[in-house]
Symmetry: C3
Subunit: 209 residues, 3 copies
């Protein structure tokens, strides 16, 4: 297995954990846990591959089905407290975000997309699975929560990846550095409530809902 595939599978596992944890919090059953884990972890990549116009990796390589199954089993046996679940959900989601913004950008560049499109597709891959997860579970997407930042770390990671590839400096070490930066930025923003200005300046002093 090459490095991007391993990174990708770890990203899939992290998002799968976020899906199974959300399923546990919503009171879904084991099958719902497996499906939400699959949608969260494979959905962003399927959308990316449809746009690139290549067969979605999740359907061509059965290895992609292992992380959702593993996450479902782990969550079933290990997690129960609601508080812990919410925190772990954000951490795993941040791990997936950090890896997918890199993998999505790399794959788009491999297939010859221009750098702007590659960054856009990296962000789409990173935020897509989590968005699908939250929408089908009828939650307000983390992506739109105004109390912290979510897409900015993914965007930063995609831009850094595109720049490193362009400069021919992208390798396992620099890739891991980018992932750590994205993960740390997302988690720190969540812990400390770092947030962006609201969509309308006239509402800046009001309380966000």
């Amino acid at each position: 297995m090459n490095a991007p595939l391993i990174l990708d599978l770890f990203g899939v596992f992290f998002f799968a954990m976020s899906g199974s944890l959300l399923a546990a919090r919503k009171g879904f059953d084991l099958v719902g846990s497996l499906l939400l884990a699959s949608l969260a972890s494979l959905g962003g990549g399927v959308v990316r591959d449809l746009i690139i116009d290549t067969q979605p990796a999740a359907f061509s390589n059965p290895a992609y089905l292992i992380p959702p199954a593993l996450a479902t089993i782990l969550v079933y046996f290990l997690f129960s407290g609601v508080e812990k679940v919410s925190k772990l959900l954000v951490l795993f989601d941040a791990g997936g975000l950090a890896l997918f913004c890199i993998v999505g950008t790399l794959k788009a560049m491999d297939f010859g997309l221009n750098p702007v499109a590659a960054v856009l597709l990296g962000v789409t891959t990173a935020v897509g699975g989590g968005l699908l997860r939250d929408v089908v579970a009828n939650e307000i997407p983390q992506l739109f929560d105004p109390r912290d930042i979510y897409a900015i770390p993914a965007f930063l990671g995609a831009v850094l990846t595109a720049l490193l590839v362009w400069a021919e400096w992208f390798n396992v070490v620099t890739g891991i550095v980018v992932a750590v930066v994205v993960f740390a930025l997302r988690v720190l923003a969540w812990r400390h409530g770092w947030h962006a200005p609201l969509a309308s300046a006239g509402r800046r002093r009001r309380e966000a809902p």
Copy 2:
């Protein structure tokens, strides 16, 4: 018309009925009924065909537009009681599920996908349209309802179809047997509340929401 196309059109009609019945229950208008019928009945197949990378059948063959129109008209004139609507919705949805897990798996194998991917795509076809229907109508998807099982019958039907094709035993008779088994399993699970364990073992004794 060949057998798979007829099966497919019946599946489309069943899911279209589920869409129009949900539209009636939600107080949507006739146009909303037609759109929800179309999304429920054609959405799963469109996703399947995009993943297979062939032109979606709903767009290449106008025959696929007849079932949603028919369902919209039937629901308009025939159904009104809310109770009856909810029961019929589950029955038609189960009929669509039974046919689509077979048709989706067959089409994926026809296009040369490996059996694991074909089963995955059969399940995606079967549960996709209903998921889209429930999400856009702002309902908790039937797929995630922990009070009964929904995806397991579809998975069973997809696996049986893949095995029958592999053994060269798939024909109209065995296909109908698989559909009847899937339909019966789904309806019995709904009637008797057969359900899977919850996503987290630590919550098993609590009441499902």
Copy 3:
């Protein structure tokens, strides 16, 4: 730039404004505003291009990223009152609807789809972005609001476009006439509560929810 591209970019801008205005009304932040503007304005076209099987325009031409950015900035500085936001949202959405039903139908016919599929794809393009916008923002989609009509003007615009192209009468002038008709019909329906019959005739005399 050719005429369809300019029409398309104006449609993108109108839907982007509807997305940013909805983000402002929901209390999302600036990043959420940019993302909702992008989803509303580019989502319908991406689905259309995936079905046509061509690379989505939003990913091949960076010009498509300007309207969402512009809309995000305009809404940030100019809009604050909730009442005004709701009205403007409907107006911009109607503008996008009017242009996208034309552009979607034209592009589908350019790629050789049959006229029925082209009309279907025109409607999908026109209603798709707004549907995605409302679903991810956890709103009841405007598309399904039984108090006025939404898809009928888009359907009319797609049919008129297909007929004009077939008769070889489609040009900038007739295109603008179609857009004005669709826009006017949608806005008048919204202002005066023109609505279609409910999905079930037995419920006609009840109050819509």
